[in-house]
């Protein structure tokens, strides 16, 4: 039983961490960043180099990785993505081109693989099977990130503007929200979250120039099922898909986990094209209407 629970939280934290950055970029800018996997990869490389070359502790190294990915994201946004805000279809192609170039450049500079890092914190045993503390810490970090996103969206000016943008991009633009700066900030934030994800999973995976590809399907599917609201979407999609993937991983293997969540995602969007975000909105609306009607009857 614990094995299933462990697998479930492992899947959920993976989906959430892999998708959050991308979900924020999609939700607020309407752009799907195909180079998100490469930003994850860059975060992991910087983490690896900071630990193995500079000898700094892992925690600081991961922060460096996130920061560096954020800066790369900002540069990409200013140089390239900015020109395509109103051409979302083209932005897919262009960010795809970027991702090809970045991963091949990484291969040219660093070769086909890196040293990597051992999993810290050791492990514990339940019913004869061994589990790692580090993976438990990852779910804690995923939770902290979700709460942080919630706080930022609910209580800051940036959050207010971004929610306005998500509700209706055109109206937000016409209200004079400084869309350009918002977008740059958003893209940087999304990229930094990708870098963070890359650094966090470095101890658990082999580091190659294609490192980001391991996150691609999961992060895309999570955003697809989640919809435009990065918070609601990622939480519900991460939870739901994590459940399915966890079970399939345990019963069959990780490949079937991937197939399973992709098939579910394709069926899901046929019924709920706006994902969990859309579902959440309409449920919320229903409750409000009912409350209003009841209030009206009383008055």
């Amino acid at each position: 039983m614990f094995a299933y629970f462990y697998q479930f939280i492992d899947s959920v934290s993976f989906l959430v961490l892999a998708a959050l950055g991308m979900a924020i970029i999609y939700g607020m800018m309407g752009i799907t960043n195909m180079a998100q996997g490469e930003l994850i990869m860059i975060g992991a490389y910087v983490t690896d180099l900071t630990v193995n070359l500079l000898g700094l502790p892992l925690g600081i190294a991961i922060a460096c990785g996130a920061l560096f990915s954020g800066v790369v994201g900002l540069i990409l946004d200013r140089l390239v993505v900015r020109h395509l805000y109103d051409r979302p279809l083209d932005s897919i192609v262009v960010t795809w081109g970027l991702s090809i170039a970045i991963s091949q450049l990484t291969f040219i500079i660093f070769g086909s693989s890196m040293k990597g890092i051992a999993i810290p914190f050791g492990s514990f045993t339940v019913a004869g099977k061994s589990y790692s503390y580090y993976k438990l810490m990852l779910i804690a970090i995923a939770l902290v990130l979700i709460i942080a996103t919630f706080v930022v969206f609910k209580f800051t000016r940036f959050g207010l503007h971004s929610r306005a943008t998500m509700q209706n991009r055109e109206i937000a633009n016409s209200l004079g929200v400084n869309a350009d700066r918002m977008n740059a900030g958003t893209f940087m934030l999304g990229a930094a979250l990708a870098g963070l994800c890359g650094g966090l999973y470095l101890p658990a995976m082999a580091l190659t120039p294609n490192y980001g590809d391991s996150f691609l399907v999961q992060s895309f599917v999570t955003v697809l099922v989640g919809g435009a609201d990065p918070l609601i979407g990622t939480v519900f999609a991460g939870g739901g898909l994590g459940f399915v993937e966890g079970i399939l991983d345990m019963r069959l293997n990780t490949f079937y986990g991937k197939i399973g969540i992709l098939l579910i995602a394709i069926l899901f969007i046929r019924i709920l094209p706006k994902g969990f975000s859309g579902l959440y909105n309409s449920v919320q609306m229903d409750i409000k209407t009912r409350r209003n009607k009841r209030g009206g009857a009383l008055a």
Binding site: G30, T32, G97, I108, F255, L262
Partner: protein, 333 residues
Amino acid sequence: MKKIRELCTENLVAIAMLLFTVLFPVFNSAYKVDQFTGFYITCFLSFSIVLIWGYTGIFSFGQAAFYGIGAYTYAIVSLCSDKNLTIVAALAGTLIAGLAATLLGYFIFYGGVDEIFTGIITLCVSIILETFIVQTSGPEYKILGVWIGGYNGLNSIPKLRIGNFTLTNVALYFFVAAVVFAIYFAFRYMTHSNIGYALFGIRESKTRSELFGFKTAKLQTLTFGVSGAIAGLGGVLFSAWSGYVVPSTLSVGNSTIAVVMVALAGRKNITGALVMTVIYSFITQKLAASGNVFSDVILGIGLVLIVMFMPDGLLEELFKRVDFFFKKRVAKA
């Protein structure tokens, strides 16, 4: 959109290309002809991308997946018995690829999901399909008694036979070229037909087209299906031509190359796509011989630059410029 009878650069280039294609085997060795057959087969992939991306405004990474489905289906059906089933295999490959695309399109377009997700979904499907085939090396993975072969793919695939005649070398070259030009002319005709304009309308504004009474989801799904079938036919001819098929045949990388060729040519210009595919394939074949690690970097950055700064494409732009130049000359005279 140029009419097919109009005197313009695009049409002159098309005529030149037709002449080149017909005369090529006369002046070249059998080896060269065989090589060029491969280039023309790649045109199917480019055409399917022109149809879906250029005409209908849907971006897909899945075209190589449909190409691969066609290739694998042909291989399996033609290998499953010693009887002469290659025509059946070819039809099956085209049809199954088309149906797979229609089914996927149904889920994407009828739900009304944000269009930019089409890129993501087709990418995921491609990756998963490739991963699946790579891990089918175990003996339990058999379809119609044919072992799929995992990473090593399938070999000794029979050539296409029509009656008792086996299509090889020059015959195969002309067969492929004939189908390529048939699709080419069908596309040229279509761009001036009702269905063509319906697709362009959807590309420019889906909501608006719905208000003019177009069943946009149906049109998008059918077009996606047809583009899958065209890619699938390309895959069929690929495995009949090369005699092998491997998982990387349906890889995302393969789609990317076709996307680059189409972007370079001009996504809305089928003539450009035809010419560019042959030229590009020829050049990369030459370059690949020297094995350059920078080729992917150039490919990626090239794609970025073209789409950013020349969204209409290099050849389309060239056609326009030359037309403009001659019009001015004529006006002066």
